[in-house]
Symmetry: C3
Subunit: 671 residues, 3 copies
């Protein structure tokens, strides 16, 4: 791993096989890469047809030349296994590699990322080609990493996958009787009397057994990992020291990325925010949060494997990045723990669906343009801040973001089918910390909570038994845990806890939830916070609780539950457990958490008053801390650094007192 | 039938087979049922897999115990045939039982309510299990009724059904030549030259031959009834005296419920209004109307077979019922002719798709909560008003609500494809009577009109020949008939009447409609009512008529047809026929019908001025009349009873003059 | 051809086979046709089942009678080949004639216009019946024209069509290697190694290879023409002098109608505008534009083959035409080059899906109604203006409207997936000329530009190589060419031009486009036009160009590109090339083009100030010019004819100075 993080990586996906007929282009590429301060290229991602034009006929010459020429010019290669897109001959000869949809229709050949993860033929053919690649390049010093396939995703419902799913279920439940009980199949007479009766969820079959739906999603993640591991094995065989990664996707819900943590050597990530689609400060914290998730998966710096130097071509509107935004957005990734800034892609394709996607080099082909210069500036900056490479982000606060809970919650019928908005609510809480310049980790239910001063769990609808235990012991031994409405309703097979909600945590929170009222999109209630006697809007869900030991901190103002608790606090063991009964507006969250932060002595990165839209993140190691001061506003903004004296890492300039941050400016500072 | 209506029934769907592993739950259930004043449970609705876990292997012990224990505790059983959801082994072994969609794709196993109504195997298997059930329980005094299957609905397009459809058509049309003429198949060269060429409507085949579409819908109703009758036969064989019902659905358009009237012994109904989704008075009259439809089907009291004691979990938003609403809503059913208040379901399932649907007993499992107490209060009230059981609702006014017309109208291409809004317009007229405290019956084209002082027929697009005759003779002999625009356009195979509209009723109404103008959603016209010279908005359709004998009562104010008739009256024989040319706003309808009501001396239930949102319904027998005074407002409201002296049936308290009705209060009064 | 255009044709689709059981109807029809001044009927369009009720059994007697009786009454017949709707026996016996969808599902029998254009059986069966028809009627003086099939459209993805598509590709590309390069298949490893691997685009297969998508659309047009030519051959065999047409559809995008120009003898067209859906002047210019497209295809007068005398029944709202509108709308077609006014249909069907579509004769069946009289008035008017028959429309201005560009643009991923709005922008420019009373031709990339003073090319995303050459030489030799943003991006297989945009036209326009910014629907920028220093809103796309030789005429006011060029002018050779960088608001277009019109001395039809919503078109021959002065406003409007003295062609009345035009009035004037 040291091999890859000696310095920040700066580079792009590079698809030179598209340009084999244009030899002058390759030469120009090398020249421009050096000008752009690139030190890495990801090669081979969609090269199967170029590498194996016919079954069993291989052609590596062009790749030999690419890798060696890059290396001679100081550019390393991240080498991809090309399984993300199979060649037409493979689909034609072996239709079993084609994915089958949930309506049980087999795809025709086309598109990409749509093979069956089970097909023995597909596994065999990837093994052969991966093996050839590894045999040839795994010991080449130019190659620093494996890029396994590309953006894994989706699911296959073919008979082979159905069979694997049944095996997975047998392994998990052992007996059908056990499965029937855990899935509550007596409902609607759904009892299974043979394993063969179980099929993956389908709009034309079963889709109402929530535990089946949930297990299918778990299976899809496991199956994907199984396929990835198959690929990793085929390449590591030739040189186990080359690290392997696979690139995760922006806000992708289909795979539980936390489960990949033991199988990839480093997390890498493709980030495509819609900058300028609205007030950028509303975009910025969501981007930051997802970077933090990526870092949290392994608790280590990650790679920004893909981003666009200008615009995408697949979003609603292909918006240009305004001046400054490319640098700000790239360094935001660094600030939150990325050790790379990489692009999709180096040069715009001449044809097909991504030809209008932003790239470092335009069809124009020359360097005298805004985008190229923006990229070059990022390259220079990364070189200037090289010393930061050996740091990481540290956080005292954790937010629970759990894929399994998200899946269960999104599949829940009731109490608000127009939206329980899991991710939005996670972001509500994240925003408070981001805005105050406090680093945040994300955890799932498998994670250890002990190192955090504060853990926040938004709508933890599904709370696995062992996580209830974790919460209990965390609070008991002094932890501070904030949970919201509609939590601990079901266990890990979506069976409701009996005896009251929140499940086995009623004593921890000192209350019982009797009913949950859901609000229409045009409705709201209001709560009054006792300590300042101010009123705040609340929406979506109003949990109606009976407090036992808990202290009430706020109450509802309207409807038949006017006067009933809306926020509670319970001392349990050495710690404290808070329960938020409704989706509160931003100013409530700010007020509530600001006090909690002070009370728990959680350190802000800079203990100053940050204007809205200005955030500060830090990276540190045992010796040193670096501050990333970021302005997401479309205007210059004054920030009062008060007594801090901070030095610009690049220019050496010292800042203190009131300073001006330009629109979209980022400063990288040290004390 | 006397067996079931000695007293009001209060109970719920009960699914104890879900809890066989939790013996303490069954005991607790019995205890709570008694506390909630329940006297009936509907059992076995989804019990196939529990009763016949393998083909030909039956297990009735758990059911024996349930039925007898309930009975020992004073609770009768409504026993269901379990065909609503088949077990997995049945689908697996006999795929023919799986329904085929209109795109000719066979379902996988899953969900419920989706078997083929034709499949001989399905009929055989239901006959066997139903027979076993009847043999064992039909003479058990605990069992008071058969609940045949559950919420029949949907359609199957398999080859077996196609064949039955062709047989149905042969029976109806005798010759292909006759069918071709009635269906007007010459259009687009659609002439059929072999019965085999006819298939059910399909988005990938034929869907533009309206008469085919219409006959298919008729066939689906007939096929469903045929299947239901097959089931009824299998259970009545063992004891014909046990009545049978099947539960109809809230605003379901797929089946012509009027056609079930000769086959079910009593109508039962599942009602799920969205209380509190808007001003409740806008919800209340639509709920009342559908209760009146249910009562009208057989002209007898019906059963509220399902309702929720709190919220559903499948609507957009699972809203809690505010205090008072549960009692008001339950007794509204009684007021409009129900003899039962029953719930889905007794206890919330622990898992699967309806676990968050409101039930009498929550996962919490105890009685100290709002919902349980609301239910208990309804139970107590039903006992207190027991004497009302032998009454029915009587009405002088009928509204035509005809499924076949609705199907034809909804399938009509033109004149306003964005909506002709049949049900809404039926409700427009119903609302006028409901608001004035006048009972209403609903009739379809098969019904007898003679007993009514007034009949209202909104958009009677399809007017069957015999109904034209009925209208003619009804008016001729003194009846009063109100019809709207776009009526009597087609006959019962959707062939337009030739010679002018409204069909053969031009002389009855004394006019001819030349053209129909349709208005965009952002447009309206205006009419002036001559008698008060006031103007009213009208929308959607403007019928342009030439009056012959008719008198004009109102005219259009705008567009090129300014000054032309908008409302007409024609004396025909001893009666009168009114024609309303457009969709008028509420105040027009109030004005027009108020005068007509006075003129025709139609009695209001209380001849007082009812504030909007307050309604009064009555039930009566030859000796006595009971008044249900209902407040659907979110506030207390004063009602002036004027000279009436009315006594509260429960408390004995006397009311007269100005009284206050609390928000969501209902008073049950006698003179 | 002289045979058909001796006089204006006035008539309708006539389907007497629907009424064979109603002999009195046929007699009445003849009587009413004469009253309505009809001289032509289109017969047989959906008569296959009536003509060939069983395979090989033919029945022409009814048709003999229809054609001869019409002829005896002065009414000619346009005879249709009935392939638009096949009989059920054909689908039943030969399922291969049924179309296969893009998801590879074969249709069931039903609907119409959905046969496979490749099926040898379908071709054989149409050949047999067409041959019989032609043999019998082609020399009958009553028959003046062939109406080939009906409204060709749609596509078939069956194996037969796949095979033909591959043959079409082989013919075009010769080698797979060439195809792979032109399609840029290296992207996503899509290289084809066997022709069999290529399939038509599909949502369950390939749909991201733009060149494949585009070639498929080209193939669909070619295949449709091939089928049409097959039909034409079968009928012309018996009398080559009878002209053949096929009716094109209102704003249909699926077929490149320009490609039909060499195969049909005359263009005919079905026009169904939604009059009164909004301000009619916003409807009128779009209708006019499409008439101009139809005329431009062959550069000759066309036929208005279908229109409705009142309303359609398939649009959102079936709006009546207000008084005057039918005449105005019918003569608008004449004004823009139609030599006929024809209706769908003569008499409303009694049943099936189009029974409520407007027709000359209603179900009422008599003549005393508004619609019949409107039709009669048009018939009389056409007789009165008979002398205009030998004229055509002449234009100095052309707008590029190119189907292939539209297809490519609509398929483009980026830069604005929520809409690049090709047709709307074409209409933006057309509107300017229409409003000023300037005739416009439409051209595609195959057309000759030389005869025009001004050519306007909106978003010419795909600019074929040869069209780049055409533009260059047109401008060089003195032409004036206006092009917009996002033009000359790709060549004819959707490969981007390398070296800068607009492709090989950078020198012609004297600039290079560096970037294209896309705007959200809620955004806009602003431009200032230097010459009047006024500001105008612009939306959707902002092209950021670097001018080289070009002169800047306007600049952006906002965003980071404030001050950069928004409109440029470049002198190139003897001509001038303008580049419009954004979608400008109407007043900008008016201002810009008004000056250009003056500068280029482009003649207005009447050199007067036309109020908005009043337009004037002309038809002329070498001797004479006729003026059609049209008022699309819902109100009377004053027009100042200034010094013109114009004479009403029908009444002889002279007009000059200020005159009043009634709402929806049209005057046909001569000098």
């Amino acid at each position: 791993m040291e091999k890859i993080f000696n310095e920040f990586l700066h580079g792009a996906d590079y698809n030179p096989e598209q340009w084999l007929d244009y030899p002058e282009i390759f030469e120009k590429d090398i020249e421009l890469m050096k000008k752009a301060h690139c030190n890495v290229m990801s090669v081979g991602i969609f090269s199967w047809a170029a590498l194996e034009p016919e079954e069993g006929v291989f052609n590596f010459e062009w790749l030999d030349k690419v890798i060696s020429t890059l290396y001679e010019n100081g550019i390393s290669t991240i080498l991809a296994t090309p399984s993300g897109a199979r060649p037409a001959w493979l689909s034609q000869k072996y239709p079993e590699v084609l994915r089958v949809s949930e309506t049980r229709v087999r795809n025709l050949h086309g598109f990409r990322h749509n093979h069956c993860y089970t097909s023995p033929v597909y596994r065999e053919k990837t093994a052969i080609l991966n093996g050839k690649l590894a045999e040839r390049y795994a010991s080449n010093p130019a190659v620093i990493m494996w890029h396994i396939s590309n953006e894994f995703g989706g699911e296959c419902h073919c008979d082979l996958c159905q069979n694997e799913f049944r095996n997975w279920l047998k392994e998990k439940y052992k007996t059908l009787d056990n499965l029937n009980k855990k899935w509550w199949t007596t409902f609607w007479s759904h009892t299974f009397t043979s394993w063969d009766q179980i099929e993956s969820p389908s709009p034309i079959g079963e889709n109402q057994v929530h535990a089946l739906n949930l297990d299918w999603k778990r299976f899809v993640t496991d199956r994907t990992i199984d396929f990835m591991n198959h690929e990793i094995k085929t390449v590591k065989k030739y040189n186990p020291s080359i690290p392997a990664t696979t690139n995760f996707m922006y806000y992708y819900e289909g795979l539980n990325y936390f489960k990949f943590k033991d199988y990839v050597d480093v997390v890498s990530y493709d980030s495509y925010p819609e900058w300028h689609s609205e007030d950028n400060k509303e975009v910025a914290y969501r981007v930051a949060a997802y970077f933090d998730i990526m870092r949290s998966i392994k608790g280590k710096p990650f790679m920004l494997m893909e981003s666009t130097p200008s615009m995408t071509n697949w979003q609603r509107v292909s918006k240009l990045k305004k001046p400054g935004m490319h640098k700000l957005a790239s360094l935001q990734a660094i600030a939150h723990g990325s050790n790379t800034v990489q692009y999709f892609q180096w040069r715009k394709s001449r044809g097909s669906s991504e030809k209008l996607h932003g790239a470092v080099v335009d069809h124009y082909g020359k360097e005298d343009n805004r985008v190229f210069n923006d990229v070059k500036e990022v390259g220079e900056t990364l070189e200037s801040i090289k010393e930061i490479i050996n740091t990481n982000v540290k956080a005292d606060v954790a937010i629970v973001y759990d894929w399994e809970n998200m899946w269960a919650l999104n599949d829940s019928q009731g109490p608000r089918n127009i939206g329980l908005n899991y991710i939005d609510i996670v972001m509500d809480y994240y925003k408070v910390f981001w805005q105050q310049g406090i680093n945040v980790d994300f955890v799932d239910m498998e994670s250890n909570l002990d190192k955090y001063k504060l853990v926040v769990a938004p709508i933890l609808y599904m709370t696995r038994d062992n996580f209830q235990d974790k919460i209990r012991s965390y609070v008991k031994s002094g932890g501070n845990f904030v949970m919201t409405y509609f939590s601990s309703i079901v266990n890990d097979t979506d069976l409701c806890y009996l005896g009251g909600f929140p499940g086995n945590l009623m004593d921890v929170f000192g209350l019982r939830s009797e009913e949950v009222d859901a609000l229409y999109e045009y409705e709201n209630n209001e709560v009054t916070l006792y300590k300042n006697n101010k009123s705040y809007k609340c929406t979506e869900i109003c949990d109606l609780v009976h407090v036992k030991e808990a202290e009430v901190l706020a109450e509802y103002n309207e409807d038949f539950y006017k006067g009933r608790p809306a926020l509670t606090k319970n001392n349990f063991g050495k710690g404290t457990a808070y329960y938020i009964c409704s989706r509160m507006e931003e100013s409530f969250n700010e007020e509530f958490f600001k006090e909690l932060i002070n009370e728990l002595k959680i350190e802000r990165n800079l203990n100053i008053n940050l204007p809205k839209g200005i955030s500060v993140s830090t990276r540190e190691n045992d010796n040193k801390k670096y501050f990333f001061l970021q302005n997401y506003l479309n205007e210059e903004k004054e920030v009062d650094l008060e007594n801090y004296i901070l030095k610009d890492l690049i220019t050496g300039k010292e800042y203190s007192g009131k300073i001006k941050l330009k629109s979209y400016e980022i400063l990288i500072l040290e004390k």
